[in-house]
Amino acid sequence: MQRIGVFICWCGSNIAATVDVEKVAEVIKSEPGVVYSANYQYMCSENGQQLIKQAIKEHNLTGIVVGACSPRMHEATFRKAAEAAGLNPYMVEIANIREHCSWIHKDMDEATEKAVILVRTAIAKVKLNAPLTAGESPVVKRALVIGGGIAGIQAALDIADAGFEVDIVEKNATIGGRMAQIDKTFPTLDCSACILTPKMVDCAQHEKIDILSYSEVEDVKGFVGNFSVTIRRKARYVDETKCTGCKICMEKCPSKKGLNTFNMGLNTRPAIHIPFAQAIPNVAVIDAEQCIKFKTGKCGICQKFCGVGAIDYEQKDSFIERQYGAIVVATGFKPIELTAFNEYGYADNKDVITSLELERLMNAAGPTNGVLLRPSDGQHPKVITFIQCVGSRDTSGCGKPYCSKICCMYTAKHAMLIREKYPDTEVHVFYIDVRTPGKNYDEFYRRAVEQYGVDYIKGMVGKVYNENGKLMVQGSNLIDNEQITIESDLVVLAAAIEPEPSVRKIATLLTASIDTNNFLTESHAKLRPVESPTAGVYLAGVCQGPKDIPETVSQASACAAKVIGLLAKDKLKTNPCVATPDETMCNGCSQCANVCAYGAITYVEKEFRLGGGKTEIRRVASVNPAVCQGCGACTVTCPSGAMDLKGFSSKQIMSEVDAICKK
C-alpha cells in the first residue's frame, strides 16, 4: 500500500492569494493513499524542505506530491530533499498550482477547485511511480563558442586558460565583433582597439583555442556533455594556411567599389580584402558577388600577384563535425533598420547618421582617418544634434519595446569627445530620460554637461527636414514647454539594438528558448542568468539582453566558469526516464527502432520459458539507456504495447487523465 504525503506551498502570496491552500491540504487528506498533508509558506526554503524530510521519515512515506510552482522550477529541489530523507527522488511529483493555476485565475473558488484537481492528478500519478536510478554519460572535454565578439573572446580565453580546448565559430572573416568597430569606450574613454586587439591576438596564439572564422553552425545533435556539431566553413577562396596577410591582392584588385561593411558602408573596399588592419586571422577573403573573376570568369589578378599561391577560386564550402561538452552562445547584436522612422529622414539625408556610423567617422582607422567630416560634403559639422531612443522603448510597432541600455552612455561619450576635439562645435542632445546606472556612469554623463557644455534637451524630435542644405531638427523642449527647431549640420540617431538575426537559427538548432524580441531566454532571470534552459548551453553578451562591454565581459566570464565546472566533471548523471520494453510482449517487429531519432533501440535474441520445461528463442527490442532521450515516440508506435516510458508510463498518464476527468 502506498503512503503518500502531500505538501502545499503558499509561495508567499503567489499561490495563497488565489488558492485557499489550507482548504486544498484539508480536502486532499481524505484522498485514498494519502497519509499526510501539510501546507507551508515556502516549501522550497530550507524549513520547507526540512518539513518534507521529516514527514517522509516520520510517516514512512513511499511517495510525495508537492503542490507548488512549475516542475521546471523546483522539481530538482524537491527530488534532492526526498533523496536526502531516503526516498527515491523519482517518487516525487509536482502539481503546478502556481503557473498553471493561481497566476492565471482570479476567482478563489475556481482556482482552489482546480488546485485540488491538479494535486489529485499528481497523486494518481505518483501512486504508479517506480523508483528510478540515474545512469551516467561521459563528458567531452571541449567547448564551442558561437560568436567571436568580445563576449565570445572572453569566454574562450577563460575556458582555455583553465586547460580545456575551445573552438570559436565566427560567421565573419575576422573575430572582434562590434567592439572592433567602436572608437572609444565609456566611461574611461580608452580606445576600443587598444584593449580588444591584444585579446584577439591572445585567442589566436592560445594553444587551446581554435578560431574557425567565416564559419557557421549548421547542425547540432546530442545533449549536454555530448554535443555533436556540424560547422560549415564557408568558401573564402583564399587558403587560410598559406595567406600571409601581405595585402598585395587588395592593392591590385581592380574591383574596388564594394561597400566597406566594417565601416558601416561609409567607404569602399576591394573585392578581395582583409576587413581591418588588426583582423584575426589576418587572412583575405573574396566577396564573390563583387569579384570580376566570379562574375565574368576573366581577371584572376589577385592569383597572379599572390606570392604564396593562396588564392583558390575553386574552393567550396566544407563541413566539419566536432564533439563538444558545452556550448556558449555569444552571437551579439546589430542596430535596427531605420526604414520605419522616416520622420528622422535617415534614408533621405546623408548627414543623418547612426551612432555606429559616427563611431567609424571618429575612428582613426575609419573612412576619414578620425577627422570628423560629414558624409555629404566632407565639411566639419558645426552644429551636431543627437536624438536618443530612436526605436527604443517604442510600443507603436515600429521599434522595440525595450530600453537598449547603452545609448545614453555612448551618446554622452560622443558628445564629450566631439566637444573635446572640436570645441567650436555646438552639441545638442534630445533625450526622454538619461539612464546612467553603473559605476562612474552618472558622473560621466554629468561631466558631458558640466565640463563640456553639452546641451541636453528634455524632449523628443518630431521631424528632421532639409531646408537649404541645413538639417532642421524640430522637437519639443518640455522643460520650457516650447517647440524648438535646431539648424544642424549633422544629426546622429541612437538607433535601438536588436539581437543578431542569425540567433534564431542557432536557438532552433540548440532548442534554446528565445523571447518575442529574439533575445535568448536565461534559465532564471536572477539566479541562473547565464544558463539557457537547455542543459549545456550558456549565454554571453547581447544575445541574452542589451548590455554594455563591462557587463558583457562579466557575463562571458560567468559563462566560462559554468562551462569549466561542467567540463571538469568526468561523467554526468543521465535522465533515468527512458523507454523500456516488456520482453514478454515484444514480438521484435522493429517499428520502434524505425521511429527512434537517436538509434537507441537494437534487437537481441533471448530465450524465454514457455512452461512445461519448454523454451523459445525470440527476437526482442533492447534500449540503450545512455542514448535514449526519453521522448516516447517508440511507446506509441509499438503495436503490441510492449514499449513503455519510465516516469511517463501509459498507466501513469491514463491515471492522470482519469483524475482530471473525474467529476
Binding site: E343, T395, S396, M460, V461, G475, N481
Partner: protein, 128 residues
Amino acid sequence: MTNEERVENINRLSGTDVRKCMKCGKCSGRCPAFKDMDIKPHQFVTKLGKGQIEELLESKSIWNCLSCMACVERCPRGVAPAAVIEAVRDTVVRMQGKNGIKAEEIPPIVDELIPQQLLVSAYRKYNK
C-alpha cells in the same frame, strides 16, 4: 455630469490609455499647430491623467488642433493626443448643447481645392 464622469467620458471617447505616455514630448515636437496652442498636445495627455480637465475644456487649443494626427502617428507608445483633444472638443460641443453639422448641411458644391484633410477635420470638430 460631474467632473469625474467627464474625465471618464473623455478617457472613453478618446480610446487612449494616458498611463502609457512616457512623457517624451514627441507629439508636441511634431505638432504643426504648436504655436497656436495655449495648452500643448502632451499637456492634454498629462492633464487628463491628473483629471485636470477644466483648463482643457476652456483651452483654445481644441479649436486650433488641425486633427492632422501627426502626434498620433509619431507617438512611440501608442497614445493618441489628438484623440484626447477631439474627445475634449466633443465634450465642450455637447456641453453647449450643440449638435454639430449634418452631412446634408454641407454645401452641394465644395471647393475642389479644399484639402480633404480639412473636411475630415471639420467632420471631427462639428459632426460628432
